[in-house]
């Protein structure tokens, strides 16, 4: 909480002639449709609360009309919330007077728009320097800063073009450069890549991640594309009908969607690119230590109904694997556990993406061992789970993947 950059607290935004009067009715649980029918007011956002950490990319996702734009416009008070507070660095910006608000917008926060919102009577460079111009930064200085930012977005050489002479992707780069030129702490991006075609969009996503790597802004990013949300978001908030229905990391949302709406939403996402080994591994019930010997190993396997078991040392570092066949053979031939130990185990790091594990799973004869950085065995992944795209344990989810 101490380091949350932005905190919004029970924020609601109602559109209509007497927005405040509608709040109690929403509180009583009336739906958005009922409210519209009875009072003619539109519930844009209702009772949204969230905290956004410094330096994270926070994605707000939801279907069209779910209130994403309405919410993001509250962060720089393009929409004034009907109710609730918004704290940025601990200050409630809803209570700002107009000069404080102006200063806040000039210094702390900048926005990138879906349709770019560029000034088509100004050249690219003049667009980028706009934010500095209205802060009365000297012409020379703001030109220089604008040039630097034009370079950051890879548009060097386009200084004197007009926005209309650029492609959509390039125009949005100008939009991004214009926002960055002000060196804001917080970057608001309302579906910035939605108007671009898929190839350019992917390129821009990677570039945004790249820029973020260097600049470490706090980014609030809106999209209705789940893949985009999970690719970019450190955390994701899902909205429906003006309400925030779940907030969490992409992994937690994938693993435990809060309701059917979200399950539906994430149905067609490519999980293998989001889930890491850690998320799909099974925690071992049975583990055998080297000094336990073959008999214990066989007993463990029989009790747990498994055909092989991992062998670890005292600090749980992986030593190898024994199969039930080898173990029984070994007892007959009076060998030790060490003799029949198979060290040809494929190990994967616990933060490797499932997508990257697939080739390894194809080659391996045994379950994959999942280890943490220091070599400690954390769990294992059955090949069939990776290959069939199954998430461990949740058998019912396999129905989604029958095709």
């Amino acid at each position: 909480m101490a380091n949350s950059k932005v905190k919004i607290d029970h924020v609601s935004k109602i559109f209509g002639s007497k927005p405040k009067s509608v709040i109690p009715q929403v509180k009583n649980g009336k739906s958005k449709a009922e409210i519209l029918e009875e009072t003619g007011h539109t519930v844009g956002v209702y009772d949204a609360s969230m905290e956004i950490e410094e330096g994270e990319i926070f994605v707000i996702m939801g279907l069209s009309g779910s209130g994403k734009s309405t919410l993001i416009r509250c962060f720089n008070l393009l929409n004034k919330p009907t109710d609730g507070s918004i704290y940025v660095d601990g200050e409630n910006i809803v209570e700002y007077n107009s000069s404080q608000l102006k200063k806040f917008r000039q210094d702390k926060i900048a926005m990138v728009f879906q349709h770019f919102g560029l000034f088509d009577h100004r050249t690219v460079l003049e667009n980028i320097e706009y934010g500095l111009e209205i802060k009365n930064v000297s012409k020379e200085k703001r030109r220089q800063i604008a040039r630097e930012n034009l370079e950051v977005v890879g548009l060097k050489g386009y200084e004197d073009k007009y926005p209309d002479e650029l492609s959509g992707g390039m125009q949005q780069r100008v939009g991004l450069a214009r926002a960055l030129a002000n060196d804001p702490d917080i970057l608001l991006m309302d579906e910035p890549f939605s108007a671009l075609d898929p190839l350019i969009r992917r390129e821009m996503q990677l570039e945004l991640l790249d820029i973020q790597e260097r600049l470490k802004k706090t980014i609030i990013f809106i999209t209705h594309d789940v893949n985009e949300a999970f690719k970019l978001g450190d955390r994701v908030a899902v909205m429906k009908d003006g309400k925030v229905v779940q907030i969490g990391t992409p992994e937690t949302i994938l693993e435990s969607p809060a309701n059917d709406y979200i399950s539906d939403f994430i149905k067609d996402i490519d999980r293998s690119k989001i889930l890491q080994a850690e998320n799909v591994m099974i925690k071992p019930n049975a583990l055998v230590s080297l000094k336990d010997g073959l008999k214990v190993a066989i007993k463990e396997m029989e009790e747990n109904g498994i055909s092989s078991v991992f062998v670890v040392d005292r600090s749980r570092n992986l030593q190898g694997i024994v199969t039930i066949d080898d173990a029984i053979e070994g007892i007959k031939e009076k060998k030790s556990l060490e003799d029949v130990l198979n060290q040809d185990v494929t190990t994967v790091g616990k933060d490797e993406y499932v997508n990257d594990i697939i080739p390894k799973a194809l080659e391996s004869k045994y379950p994959l061992a999942v280890t943490s950085g220091n070599g400690r065995l954390e769990g294992f992944i059955l090949r069939v789970h990776v290959l069939s795209g199954l998430v461990a344990e949740e058998v019912n989810e396999s129905t989604e993947y029958h095709g």
Binding site: R73, L78, M111, L118, F119, I134, Y162
Partner: protein, 285 residues
């Protein structure tokens, strides 16, 4: 057939009383308008008088060339030359002075009013019926209060012209400002622009092409008033037309009339060219 019952209203009298009242109450204002208008017109006229005739031709040529094409420039200069050969050079200068003064005053008054209407729904609602009335009322009607307030002469002509030609620039300014892409306005807002910065750096420049279309219309309407305005003593080409009517002088009527047409063509094309130029870098959507 039955007669209309003996009910009489005296709306006309009331208006007349009201105009009397205005003349007394707002004497200072009218003096001010008189002062400004006559200053403007005298200034412009003095300037045009000071220009040698050939330099004026060159100027017209350059305007046509810059905003349209080389051939247009030549053609416009030739038109002006023709008017000179009709012996109407001085009258033409007078007419240009009146039209220019009226247009300048129209812009100075009209653009701020249009901006205000764009920002205030209430003001816009109040203004709209007045603008409608100004545009649809027969233009002769303005001549009466004009004489009343300013006497016979050029100032009255400008006043009558103003009332007639003001609405398009006001309307189009309002329309243009309201029509600026809301996302563009929001993006300016999101950077913390003040109201004034927003207006001067974003809204007006964005609105300029449409406003220029208003300027073009206003200018044409001012020119259309030239003959009517001569009834309250405006000098220039209109006066010549009026004289030719009185004398049934076809030759003079034609020459003065065609001179007005020439002016109209030149002014329309040049202001249109200026508007196009502002449009140039605009989206082709």
């Amino acid at each position: 057939m039955s007669d209309f019952p003996a009910i009489q209203s005296h709306l006309g009298d009331y208006v007349s009383d009201f105009v009397d009242f205005l003349d007394n109450a707002l004497a200072g204002l009218f003096d001010f308008i008189f002062f400004i208008s006559s200053r403007t017109i005298n200034g412009i006229e003095a300037f045009l008088d000071f220009l040698p005739w050939w330099l004026f031709l060159v100027l017209i040529f350059l305007l046509g060339w810059y905003f349209k094409s080389l051939w247009s420039g030549l053609l416009y200069a030739f038109f002006i030359f023709l008017v000179g050969t009709f012996g109407l050079w001085e009258e033409m200068m007078m007419t240009i002075s009146i039209v220019l003064s009226a247009v300048i005053i129209c812009l100075v008054i009209g653009i701020p009013l249009g901006v205000w209407m764009a920002f205030s729904k209430g003001f816009s609602t109040v203004m709209r019926p007045f603008l409608d009335a100004m545009q649809t009322m027969p233009s002769f009607v303005y001549l009466i209060p004009a004489i009343f307030f300013f006497g016979l002469g050029n100032v009255s002509a400008i006043f009558a012209t103003l009332i007639y030609a003001l609405p398009p620039v006001i309307r189009l300014t309002e329309l243009a400002i309201r029509g600026v892409d809301p996302e563009v306005v929001e993006s300016a807002q999101s950077f913390g622009s003040s109201r004034w910065q927003m207006l001067t750096k974003v809204q007006l420049p964005q609105a300029l092409p449409t406003i220029m279309a208003g300027v073009n219309q206003t200018t044409m309407m001012a020119l259309a008033m030239v003959v009517i305005a001569s009834m309250v003593g405006a000098q220039g080409l209109g006066e010549q037309v009026l004289i030719s009517i009185n004398r049934i002088d076809i030759a003079l009527g034609f020459e003065a009339g065609i001179s007005i047409v020439f002016l109209a063509i030149i002014i329309d094309r040049v202001t249109g060219g200026v508007a196009d130029r502002f449009q140039k870098h605009r989206r082709a959507k």
